[in-house]
Amino acid sequence: MIKKVTQHLSQNEPLLFERSSPGKKAYQLPELDVPAVDAAETLGAENVRKEIEGFPEVSEVEAIRHFTRLSTWNYAIDYGMYPLGSCTMKYNPRINEQVARTEGLAWAHPYQPESLSQGCMEIMWSLEEALAEICGMDAVTLQPAAGAHGELTGILLIRALLEKRGNPRKKILIPDSAHGTNPATAAIAGYAVENIKSSETGGVDLATLEQLVTSDVAALMVTNPNTLGVFENNIVRVAEILHKKGAMLYMDGANMNALVGIARPGDFGVDVMHLNLHKTFSTPHGGGGPGAGPVAVKKVLEPFLPTPRLRRSGKKLAFDFKRPRSIGRVKSFYGNFGVLVRALAYILAHGGPGLKNATMDAVLNAIYIRKALEPYFDLPYTSPSMHEVVFSDERQAKLGVRTGEIAKRLIDYGFHPYTVSFPMIVHGAMMIEPTETEGRAEIDLFIDAMISIAKEVETDPQMVKGAPYNTRTSKVDEVTAARKPVLRWKP
């Protein structure tokens, strides 16, 4: 039974261009009480902007209604659970926003002299220190603007170190359960990619790894816990095998929400890793970002970190630009500063014990869902999982209903879908990550919804395949949209 949503008013809204009618304005200026000046004559014609052709003209209330209506078409964590696996869609506490809007931070300018930027620099310094401690690493750069950007930075650091040792090497090893950005990163950094098949328990197979690690291998990129939510129990051995051959261990920190306060990658052999502040540290996601993907490294990689580096002498902080071995800048100025402020606010508001609690709640929530849904959905990997759980649609597919269709039906129940068809090693994957945000009431509603859909699949699969029904737009034709995309509105 659908408990969470009922039909509600959701209004259609055309494009602003279609609403336009000539002469409408959202403002009214008082009559000119000084002599008129010809702008082109005074400033030079080349400095005067022409009117934008076809720019929509609407009244103030029309503009406000337009955007307000559009905003009601969205689903957000502020409405309810957002179990999109691998994305860690946790609630962004409002205190983060309040801190980031502090006048001295919100209006700080990157060209301000260092003497007037000490507060901002102190924030960056504190965040670097906190992230290094959480990860068990020696140094952190805050420059990368997102996770994949952090990956590229990390692999370029490895390349720089190996080059200095005389040979940048040729290959990067990547498990077949990895995020797609990992092989993309390796390729952009000039490395060939070699896939490692996952073992039956979903981890890296040690015997295979031992065979594959040759003097050609620069690094292994591993996500821990991996995309099945399973911790690599052999991670210390994995690091040893790599280090013995002079290769490095890169960790994709996308799943750090399962580890913060409990286990430190630096302690289990990781040489370099990135964090997604917009996942683990509750800053806004993706399009609502911008993101931040700080990179944490062991001492041996520190000289290669992007310039400038923060340096402290006594109480004073300064930017150090003279770093001959640095890979150079990877981002203008100092990273997405506003995001960094939010992440530090989150860390300080929680404190060490609070962060640890958040991790344990995230894992508890995922395991609670796993236990409740196990009787209804196929669980292809039964190893103990952490902050997320991956089911497969195998049972439902026998009745003709696939993971994507179950996800669409979930929308009718008032939830954002889980992650569909990823990781690729699970056929018909349904990847669920509740995060620590949810209390038991919302999680129970989600579980009820999933069980209810499992039963609908048995009694009326055709109905499920036609979902969603409660949305303002019915099922969209994704295939035609991808094959023949219309990317630009034309009158």
């Binding site: 797609g180 569909v420 068809s421 990823f422 690729m424 994704e478 295939v479 991808a482 094959r483």
Partner: protein, 127 residues
């Protein structure tokens, strides 16, 4: 379903050798797994491809997947119709929706690949 004169790879490509030229495509099983295909990226005519290495990619609504060349040689022709009609990979993967034609460096290479019977039992086991 799986023509007996074709040879198959574990990565779900097929090749049909005719004289010194091999026609390459993806299998019906591959298109089923991928779902609706929306874009195909093929190599340039004249480029040299190696068996087991990527020769291009197919994009479906689910994911982008590499196509691994079953054979080594020079690309002599690519299937131009796929640019406008990628959906033919879903409807006729073993026929009209071939991907590339490759001038084979070695005629023996395809002997290492699976027969249709072997491929059938391979995909049976994979499930």
């Amino acid at each position: 379903m799986y023509p007996e004169n074709y040879r198959y790879t574990k990565e779900h490509e097929w090749v049909l050798a005719d004289g010194g030229t091999g026609t390459v495509g993806i299998t019906d099983h591959a298109q089923q797994e991928l779902g609706d295909i929306v874009y195909v990226d093929l190599p340039k005519v004249g480029s040299h491809v190696e068996a087991g290495k990527s020769l291009g990619s197919v994009e479906s609504v689910k994911a982008v997947s590499d196509i691994y060349s079953p054979v080594t040689g020079e690309v002599v022709e690519i299937n131009q119709t796929l640019a406008d009609a990628p959906e033919s990979l879903n409807s006729d993967p073993h026929g009209a929706a071939w991907l590339v034609k490759i001038k084979l460096d070695s005629a023996e290479e395809i002997q290492n690949l699976m027969s249709s019977a072997d491929y059938l039992s391979y995909i049976g086991a994979e499930k």
